[in-house]
Symmetry: D2
């Protein structure tokens, strides 16, 4: 059986496991006060190209989103996001459970449109009854999006400019950040991120770690964040586990290298489907590939591979998603293509 | 100056004021444990045609919505509602501040479509990842809607049937219930309400009371509601004020009579506009009337009348709303028409 | 039957009712944007002796406490209060339902001790694990307290100094503020309040209004408070009702005069009990009087009067509370004494 | 340097690490739907002696407490707990951030007294104003407590009986459950737990796992718990990590064996201190040992060992805590004693 369900089907990259093993019986203080965490933070700051960044290590994606958003918004504010945004669609209401509304914008293959963001905010304050409505307090986007697409540098610059004009932070969910930055279509690097948004996270769970997400924020943006992390149940007792993992991923460019592999695999898969006459459902340059296939093709492929039906099954055709990762083997992809 | 901004521009109906004055120096116990409240509840039960109803008196509309919805939903559930629903658009995030997501459905002149409700719920449970999403835990509709439209008995029966099939309560926001029931197009009465939904409220603030909303629920549906009312800051110390007002409104059919007057005034207004060649923006049979007018007409009317621009002002034309109420004077309406 | 259960057993002071009646059919805009509300706010600012004050009119006490506290605290902060504080004991968890912990201090006849406040804060930050605990983000006290006692100017000055030193606001719950200021033991006036705390409210519900509480805050302390009021369900559609009431109460010193009457009545009651050999359970100078009586005395008095047993009934003796108000009649008090 | 700060200073037990390594590159589905998790749950059920138990694997302790408590309480309810309870003192307000009050009871060396629980509940419902207060909706205790003490079977039976009588669940925080069950003073076993409470968790983080807490609940007690776990940010993408760890810990009695080692070390430490004339501050039979020492002794010991000052440092003496774990080396303890 070959598996293309998601990018979190394996454990960690072997080098990460090795470091966890090597350090296993060392004794360190808890809650991220250890040296490994300090080192990871320093490596992350270097990789991001600035010392003026606050870095926090959390455990999972939904947890990170809800803790960060709760930390950024005032009570009367909500978070702008595409209807397809993970926080709107797939977090069981975590954002609302903290008291905040997700203010939805149209999704364009997973992305928000800068003009629509600008219009939303402008129209909001033009409405005389705006104090009876939820104020747009921040903008959430994902890079890559839930549909595998990415923003260009120009698009991000424009979005960030709008946010700055209206004095609200731009937050980028980078659950798959590595895969977004590693694809040839990306015209930004990790070092650009700090200038293109106010806060983002570097996903570990889907990119080589056992678990772990690394929040990088403009210095001072998040206030009193430590007790908030604790309050959200997001504080790992053995914080060094996060430190060790991220330190490993940000040594010798490992994070980027393993991300690039996933993109290579995704492109082999994409071209293989295209060569057999299938057009992508969405033109994704990253590690998630979507195709609309006949149901009988899907059923046949599912005898030897696992992957997700995107949304609900159609009558004759359905859209499916294939995901590659740092751990995907080329032979598995080639076999899948052969079986098409 | 004539005023058509809203249906809460005056105090209370004179008979309500008179009763408040007559009883003013009587001493009663607090928090709705008094005889006036008991009597009001009994009159409401009679007006609704059943003794098997729980009745609660609260102060305001947003407060009532958030307390009721909080009382009905489990933590993992959200409330289905039209995008134009008051709870989604104009309550400053009160529902989300209690932890619940508003799950939006398309608005059809303010109404939800039964098939779209059914599809939403069916698709939700058909999605294999549904436990990562917010479950539809109740349906909220308003009668009349925020656009003045009303549901027919057939439509309500269908909506209620879908809710019953999926075992979720149907809640009707009746901030303007009187105006909805009093219009000739309505094919339901107050006595029908208990069979067409699980819980609704009878709006007082906009229909003759100084303030006050009366929640009517299937017996036992709301559990431990008293402490929840208190927790939501919705418990009036001098609860008898609500009891006296609702007892007055439900004596001698007052609530219905004064509602009917507002509809009469709205129809004079509507026909007056139509006679001058203006087509309604929405074909509302109730006390809110919407027209799209040239901006210069709006500016001229605004010299002698107040009313709301609906949404934001357009470049050449804008949509405006005129609202009548139990207190609207016929001469004011006629003067407005004359000034068109 | 004579009633001493509470200070909210009647409607409003006749002058308040008269003004509500006189203005009843006037048309005003909603949500406190009317002239009556503006006038009330101006009168309140004058009565408080400063134009540099933000004034907000809300409906009820628990609602006011939870909205204000939610508006003042950051997510990781809690509110310091006596164990006997209304917010800790009798608000059905309204504060916690907004996400905030009540951090309790010992109660000294309802009051907190300044040194204990100082120690709490100092010890909190001296604890190396303080970020795992809830930070003291504000201090709540009531004036008079739930036991009828009041703070001296010296005590308030000391408490406020401690709060200022630690940069947290001092909030005074003035549900019965009039009764506290009107008693001869009080060495402060309404004009002193703004200097002795950062924010307080002037209770209307218990002091002559039908309902209504008036928040007075240091300018700029409460940010974005209007949408928060709405979100908390505390925004009255016909806001002018609050404006009219408070404008009346703060014309010709009415608020103070009617408060003084309640104190006169309470002192007759207190002295009457003392003259018959009963020592007060707490030495309250305000409109709540507490005595521990034999159960048979209580049962006898309850045949002709109503009043509350404080806490639970004891085996032989129980503590009871008698409350006077602006509306209490002297003959009722004298009759009660006679029946002792 | 020797470390006695806490029981989470190392990584995982070597056998746990080995299994994580062996399975690292296997592919499994996410969110706990994998076979390892299924196997762990089955082993836990067997270890607990019943198939009629719901088992859930979460990441951390505070997270588990807040998710479980949120899952058990209705909106108007709070959780009874000792003032010293972790949820009251050291979770940064996580419980309150979910909307629930912690209703505190006196702490007796970390334990609650059954009679005081009974009195609290009885007095609550005897108070006529109880609907204005927060209802006791569950009882939280820890085993062992935050002070290292444990309840006897008789005590637990009595507490559980009171809870059953009042129809509220008894929840046991077992962050250190292994250490509590492994000490000779314990007269209960893991198999007894299901009969002595309604829900508890088996701590992994402090007892041999990298991280992980295992909730064991009476079947059906927790409803719709999966989306709640997700909403609380407590759902691990690679759920199998929890499954593998707990399966290892519950194979060949590993969990118990390594717990017993920590107790052996703690007893050597305790007896060593006693032999040198120091009396324990609290008579703890488990892996946390408390002593009040002269500050100069503390300072001297701190040159070669780390451990926590309990609360704040006193003027001449302070209370300190020494914690042993599954990983503590006997020579380290002996060296500490020698240095006393």
């Amino acid at each position: 059986m070959k598996h293309f369900d998601s990018d979190y089907m394996e454990g960690a990259h072997p080098l990460v496991m090795q470091r966890l093993l090597e350090t296993n019986l060392e004794q360190t203080t808890g809650y991220g006060s250890d040296d490994y965490t300090a080192k990871a933070k320093q490596l992350i700051r270097e990789a991001c190209g600035s010392d003026e960044l606050d870095v926090h290590l959390l455990v999972g994606g939904t947890q990170t989103n809800s803790t960060v958003i709760d930390g950024l918004l005032a009570r009367h504010e909500g978070v702008l996001a595409a209807t397809t945004a993970h926080i709107n669609a797939h977090e069981s209401g975590a954002i609302e459970s903290c008291g905040h509304k997700v203010l939805t914008l149209p999704s364009h293959d997973g992305k928000v449109d800068a003009d629509e963001v600008e219009d939303f905010i402008t129209n909001f304050y033009a409405d005389e009854t705006y104090e009876h409505m939820v104020a747009p307090g921040m903008l959430y986007i994902s890079f890559p999006t839930e549909y595998g697409t990415i923003y260009s540098k120009e698009e991000l610059t424009k979005l960030h400019g709008i946010c700055q004009k209206h004095d609200i932070p731009l937050y980028i969910d980078g659950a798959r950040l590595g895969y977004g930055l590693a694809c040839p279509e990306a015209d930004i690097t990790l070092k650009d991120m700090k200038d293109l948004c106010d806060i983002f996270y570097i996903g570990g769970t889907k990119v080589g770690a056992l678990f772990g997400e690394c929040v990088v924020a403009r210095k001072g943006l998040l206030k009193h964040f430590f007790p908030l992390i604790k309050q959200h149940g997001a504080l790992l007792a053995k914080g060094r586990l996060l430190g060790i993992q991220f330190a490993t991923l940000f040594t010798d460019n490992l994070y980027h290298k393993i991300s690039a592999h996933a993109i290579d695999m995704a492109m082999i898969l994409k071209k293989g489907f295209e060569a057999k006459g299938y057009k992508p459902f969405i033109d994704s340059p990253t590690n998630q590939q979507f195709f609309t296939l006949q149901n009988e093709v899907i059923d046949r492929l599912m005898q030897t591979s696992t992957f997700e039906i995107w949304g609900t099954r159609g009558k004759t055709h359905s859209t499916v998603r294939f995901v590659t990762s740092w751990a995907t083997k080329q032979e598995a992809v080639e076999q899948l293509i052969a079986e098409l």
